[in-house]
């Protein structure tokens, strides 16, 4: 059974969409990742135009991050003040990001730029995850326990405009979180991702936030970044496909909850290594599409009159 997507302007099998949403949701629930970094490239692989894939992914991440934030918020693990400061940067970052995006659409370079960005992103995530999970597996085999530092002190503590973040027990400058938020905003708007996998390490290592508060806070700020990105895309690139988003959201919210349940029962490292291999596979496919000579070197795009 297939359904016609009004903005993407093509028909897609409904079960393909539901299983894609479900699997990506499951992985994101399991690892606490947004899943946008897998959703967008896979949507492009199944033939969804790049701009629609990016804008619709942002809309889908709004749903999955709300779902996730509620759980952390109930446990008191969201630092709203830190989230708010990050958002100041994200606000300007996403406006710049959508502007860059629409310029690239006009220049006809959006597909290439998105492919290169995704290749770089997925390759680094895949390699880091693979290295980390295989390290943990090796340590477990050798029955070694690794001690981890809880608090980092660095240059972020020496800048001006210092603020108190009671929940995170921090007294740091507002500049680093604003810069981090700005970068996340640009990435979110151009790539259709929440940016958790960049945000979480940045919050731990640059801001020195306690690990327990990091995931909830990042999810909280991602709700607003992706919501803003959705609105900006809806009004400037007209690329948000509500029908596509609806099916992805339904499946990913269910998948995410099952992923959280599964995370408690399954051992993380092996699955993380498997995810790393999937991520590297997607990266390889993107690279091949860029490097192999296409059958048709010309492509056509109809300029839609906006009325």
């Amino acid at each position: 059974m297939s359904i016609y997507l009004p903005i993407a302007e093509l028909s897609v099998n409904i079960f393909l969409l539901l299983s894609l949403g479900g699997v990506v949701g499951f992985l994101s629930g399991m690892f606490g990742l947004g899943g946008g970094f897998l959703m967008t490239p896979i949507l492009i692989f199944i033939g969804i135009p790049t701009n629609v894939a990016v804008a619709t992914s942002a809309n889908q991440i709004v749903a999955s991050s709300i779902s996730g934030t509620i759980g952390y918020w109930r446990q008191g693990l969201v630092d709203f003040k830190m989230g708010g400061v990050l958002l100041i940067g994200s606000f300007f970052g996403s406006i710049l990001g959508v502007w860059i995006f629409s310029r690239l659409v006009v220049l006809g370079q959006i597909d290439t730029v998105i492919s290169i960005l995704y290749f770089a992103l997925l390759t680094s995530i895949g390699l880091i995850m693979l290295a980390e999970s295989s390290q943990v597996i090796r340590d477990r085999i050798r029955r070694k326990t690794v001690k981890r530092k809880i608090h980092y002190h660095n240059w972020a503590h020496k800048l001006p405009f210092k603020m108190k973040f009671y929940k995170s027990k921090l007294y740091i400058s507002a500049i680093p979180p604003i810069i981090i938020g700005f970068v996340i905003g640009i990435l979110s708007a151009t790539m259709g991702i929440g940016g958790t996998f960049i945000l979480i390490p940045a919050m731990i290592y640059f801001l020195g936030m306690p690990t327990s508060k990091v995931i909830g806070t990042s999810l909280f700020q991602i709700i607003f970044v992706t919501a803003l990105v959705t609105l900006l895309h809806a009004t400037t690139t007209f690329a948000v496909d509500a029908v596509l988003a609806f099916f992805l959201i339904i499946a990913s919210v269910i998948g995410a909850q099952l992923g959280v349940l599964a995370a408690n029962k399954l051992r993380g490292e092996e699955i993380r290594a498997l995810l790393a291999i999937i991520v590297l596979g997607v990266a390889t496919k993107i690279a091949l599409d860029l490097l192999v000579e296409p059958n048709e070197i010309f492509n056509i795009s109809v300029i839609r009159a906006l009325f």
Binding site: I3, Y4, L5, P6, I7, E9, S11, N59, Q60, V62, A63, S64, S65, I66, S67, G68, I70, G71, G108, Q109, D111, T112, I116, A227, T230, L231, H233, A234, T235, F238, V240, A242, V243, A245, F246, I249, I250, V253, I254, A256, Q257, V260, L261, L290, L291, V292, E293, P294, E296, I297, F298, N299, I300, S301, V302, I303, A305, L306, F307
Partner: protein, 262 residues
């Protein structure tokens, strides 16, 4: 059956009015509605034709059906290799290109004939010879004639690959020697707007009679409503998309919270 009888009567009337050749057209629709489940509708074009009885009976007569869709502006981009990467480089903007073009004939029509009569845009070998004067082309920095031709060819090729440009022959049924019928496949990717159907009766390689009429393609259904809403009220559309995401995200968390407690 009624249709055939009706056409025959008309044909007989024409026969009495004039001894010259004649062409009469019927069409089953003036409007085609495309909805989400539309998987390509067959547009029926039918009619009757009558060769000049003063001519020898074995003279070759052919029917040519041309369907021209509404115009649109397109950009053709060419990929080139930069250090191993295939990137879009040169682009040409073609304005007022037919969004749909279909040419069908009872038997194969020669290029010379089409050229002489200014019909067709699909089969010309020398692209620069085509009468593209109706087109408004933005060549950018491309000056080379050969390269221009490659863009013309690419325009036609990419449109053909989407079934939006087609040239066929032998798809017109001739019934009883004087009636013809053809089903023209309209794919669901066609642009909306006014379409023109031109019919030609060709006798001895000359256009003996021609007839034209219009039909309209309209998109309908919930998908079309969503599409036009997203263009007309983008902010409201964006907000609704957000509200849907928020509600499903929220209720998902609530439903599973209860489920987990049980």
């Amino acid at each position: 059956m009624n249709l055939k009888i009706f056409l025959f009567i008309e044909l007989l009337i024409l026969f009495f009015i004039s001894s010259a050749s004649a062409l009469v057209i019927g069409s089953d629709e003036e409007e085609i509605y495309i909805d989400a489940n539309f998987s390509g509708k067959n547009l029926l074009v039918f009619g009757a034709f009558y060769s000049d009885p003063s001519q020898a009976r074995d003279n070759k007569s052919d029917i040519l059906i041309e369907v021209v869709g509404p115009t649109e502006d397109v950009v053709i981009r060419k990929k080139e290799s930069f250090f191993g990467f295939w990137l879009n480089s040169k682009s040409v903007g073609f304005n007022d290109v037919p969004g749909f073009y279909y040419l069908s004939s009872t038997s194969e029509i020669t290029t010379e004939f089409l050229d002489e009569n200014n019909i067709g845009l699909l089969n010309k070998k020398d692209a620069q010879l085509i009468d593209w004067s109706a087109l408004n082309i933005d060549w950018g920095n491309i000056k080379n004639e050969k390269e221009k031709d490659s863009f013309y060819a690419a325009l036609i090729r990419t449109k053909e690959s989407k079934d939006l440009y087609r040239q066929v022959n032998g798809e017109i049924d001739i019934i009883d020697g004087n009636l013809f019928r053809s089903y023209i496949e309209i794919p669901n990717t066609v642009p909306v707007g006014q379409y023109r159907v031109n019919l030609y009766l060709i006798i001895d390689n000359k256009i003996s009679n021609e007839y034209s009429y219009n039909f309209i393609v309209t998109r309908v259904g919930i998908e079309e409503a969503i599409y036009s809403f997203s263009k007309n009220y983008p902010l409201v559309y964006g907000l609704i998309s957000l509200v849907i995401a928020i509600l499903i995200g929220w209720s998902g968390a609530e439903v599973f919270k209860r489920f987990r407690k049980v």
